[in-house]
């Protein structure tokens, strides 16, 4: 245990300090901003889906349903790009590999599911494909940045 002067801080032990350091290590600005922007995108998708179902057809509905997911996806893309720009050359290479791997996995997955559709499986909405792709990329991006903290 650290020898600190008498006071509230003197009661903090090494385990607590280690836990605090671990939490600080996880919640760095790149991981937090990626998580928040992706969460915002997911919320926008849900809001757009609910809005399109319960709001009367018209200009407002079209505007909300079209702009919310697109703007939040643009935000997520911009945050991912900022994280890429803030990374060093090796991490940039790894991030690009993540994007390529997510694209390849998505390509194989959609091709495989095309076969399953022909065998009677239900048709997938394009948003499911989109979500799987972004989720894969986001998880890999967070993993790369988390390992590099």
């Amino acid at each position: 245990m650290h020898r600190l002067p008498e006071g509230p801080l003197s009661r903090i032990d090494d385990a607590a300090l280690a836990t605090a350091a671990k939490i600080q290590g996880i919640y760095t600005w790149p991981t937090v901003s990626i998580l928040v922007s992706f969460w915002t995108y997911l919320v926008a998708l849900i809001v757009a889906a609910v809005f399109s179902r319960f709001y009367a057809a018209g200009g407002t509905r079209t505007l909300v349903v079209m702009s919310l997911p697109l703007l939040t996806l643009l935000l997520h893309f911009f945050i991912s790009y900022m994280v890429y720009r803030a990374s060093d050359e090796y991490l940039r290479l790894r991030i690009l590999k993540c994007a390529a791997l997510a694209g390849v996995l998505l390509a194989f997955g959609t091709t495989a599911y095309f076969g399953l559709e022909q065998l009677g499986y239900p048709r997938l909405s394009i948003i499911v494909v989109n979500l799987i792709g972004w989720t894969l990329f986001t998880i890999m991006l967070i993993w790369v940045r988390h390992r590099a903290r």
């Binding site: 050359e89 991490l91 590099a148």
Partner: protein
Amino acid sequence: VKNILPELRARRGWTQGDLASRLDVSRQTVNAVETGRYEPSLSLAFAIAHLFSLPIESIFEGQRRRARFTGTASSTDKG
């Protein structure tokens, strides 16, 4: 590309983290360069050489490259 970064680092008593902070890169990058999993860019190689006050070729030992598609020696091999 082989290199003597671990030896140079050990001589100064630096950890990978120390070297990474001096080069303004992540510790992962230093580790990847040291283990040969990643070939550094020219700018990073120059930064490493400058940090250790050594010429690049004494830190990194390159292999002669061959043209990949033709199977013939590339222009860098000539002479």
